[in-house]
């Protein structure tokens, strides 16, 4: 379709949509982190939907023709019926739907809600938190009748889902948030009209593990004790895992450039599992099992007991995408 550009000339540009579901807004900021290049986004695309930056109503998107959006970057997990509805609408309207960032791809931090239940979350949010005063025990209702008419709120689901658990997804861009230069690579690739990777591919990332990007010195790993980062002053040159800190590097896809490990903090796993690994947490568990330096059950157990919160540590970014998807209530 043609449109008027700033100079008043007509130009044909691919249509771009950006949406946020259950997310923190960091993925939107990652786009702004393109700095001056962000101006090239509207220069190359016709931005048709971006709730965080422009005033567009859901009805506008719902009224679009199927496949009329060329590229949709969808960030955020599926927490409510509103998120799910927009996922379905944007799937129908978009030629290429990309799960943008860890929340849409794997569930990420919002997905840690799958370690508890909807009931417990409502109880904490509306009753138990110290700053809440709610003597009438009011909780949000999805439908409510008022004299002026009926009002409604989206349904809060029992579990957080990933985008590909509700609709078909063409590509996945990992990261919490995706690194700006990686986003740019993807935009350039699409603008250039070059051959696209096969559907279902992870794009804007590497195909190794974070360890390959980490500059720290690795030794033959033999771990007798796990420590948490605040318990030691870690050597700045040595592999953090060698020092007993649970670093998700061996079970995380490369692509970030080893930012956290470079800054002295262990990798938390936000770029998701490396190629050909389905369950990042189990992959990490296997890696750790190989380096624990003990052969007696009681000794092994004592070492493992030093790992606090294994589900939240190994599946910090991938709980909804893990084999079980949630902690059993």
């Amino acid at each position: 379709m043609t449109m008027q550009d700033v100079a008043g000339q007509t130009a044909t540009k691919p249509k771009l949509a950006l949406y946020w579901a259950a997310s923190c807004g960091g993925c939107e900021i990652a786009i702004l982190e393109l700095h001056e290049k962000v101006l090239e986004v509207p220069a190359n695309f016709d931005l048709v939907f971006w709730p965080v930056a422009m005033d567009v109503k859901y009805a506008d998107v719902e009224g679009m023709e199927p496949d009329s959006i060329d590229l949709c970057l969808f960030n955020g997990a599926i927490r409510t019926s509103e998120n799910e509805h927009l996922a379905q609408v944007l799937r129908e309207k978009s030629k290429t739907l990309v799960a943008f960032g860890s929340c849409a791809m794997e569930g990420c931090i919002p997905g840690l809600a799958n370690a508890t239940t909807k009931e417990a979350i409502f109880n904490a949010a509306y009753h138990a938190s110290p700053s809440t005063v709610n003597p009438d025990r009011v909780e949000p209702q999805t439908i409510w009748d008022l004299p002026e008419g009926q009002v409604s709120l989206p349904t809060f689901f029992e579990s957080v889902k990933t985008l590909d658990q509700v609709v078909d997804v063409d590509y996945f861009i990992p990261g919490c948030p995706p690194e700006a230069h990686r986003i740019w690579e993807v935009i350039e690739l699409i603008v250039s009209g070059g051959p696209l990777p096969p559907p279902g591919a992870v794009i804007g990332a590497g195909d190794q593990t974070v360890c390959e990007e980490c500059l720290r010195t690795r030794e033959e790993k033999r771990i007798k004790e796990f420590v948490r980062p605040h318990q030691i002053i870690a050597d700045p040159e040595l592999c953090l895992l060698d020092q007993g800190i649970v670093c998700m590097g061996p079970a995380t896809r490369s692509g970030c450039g080893g930012l956290c490990v470079g800054a002295g903090s262990p990798c938390r796993g936000c770029y998701g599992p490396p190629p050909n690994v389905r369950d990042q947490g189990l992959n990490m568990m296997s890696a750790l099992a190989s380096v624990v330096d003990a052969t007696e059950a009681t000794e092994i157990q004592a070492i493992l007991d030093q790992i606090a919160d294994p589900v939240g540590t190994f599946h910090r970014f991938s709980l909804p995408h893990s084999t079980f998807g949630r902690v059993q209530p």
């Binding site: 579990s159 369950d279 294994p310 079980f324 949630r326 059993q328 209530p329």
Partner: protein, 138 residues
């Protein structure tokens, strides 16, 4: 034999050199083993990826038995120690996921211990019957 309509499904991953031979011996010696246990042969208990166990439980198994050579006897020298570390780690993680860790059991069974294989299979069936079917919520 279904009891209260519940017929447990137990998947066993048995190493080729000891545990599977032990199961074989139980068979040729006509020692009855629990029919709820479905053995899968792997080359070594160290080959059992945690993904096998979790996928089995996710796909309908009510319990998983891992069995390998006794400590010091692994055909590949250290695979069973790796399996032991992984098993303890998996039990910890299963607990974190709200799944009874007794649904996973590790045993060392030598090629001459057909009777032990049989005994373990019945014990496992009984324990899984007590725990009931594994019903996973999405």
């Amino acid at each position: 034999m279904p009891e209260n309509g519940f017929n447990p499904k137990i998947v066993g991953f048995l190493c080729n050199w000891c545990a599977y031979s032990g199961a074989d011996l139980a068979g040729v010696s006509r020692i009855q083993s629990s029919p709820t246990l479905r053995p899968i042969r792997v080359m070594c208990s160290g080959r059992i990826d945690p993904g096998f166990v979790f996928t089995a439980l996710k796909s309908g198994a009510d319990g998983v038995l891992l069995a390998g050579c006794h400590p010091g006897d692994c055909h590949y020298s250290e695979g069973n120690y790796l399996c032991l570390r992984r098993t303890l780690m998996m039990k910890k993680l299963l607990g974190g996921f709200g799944i009874d860790e007794e649904r996973l059991r590790l045993e060392w069974i030598s090629a001459s211990e057909g009777d032990k294989y049989s005994k373990v299979s019945w014990e496992m069936e009984n324990r899984i019957r007590e725990l009931g079917p594994l019903e996973l919520k999405q």
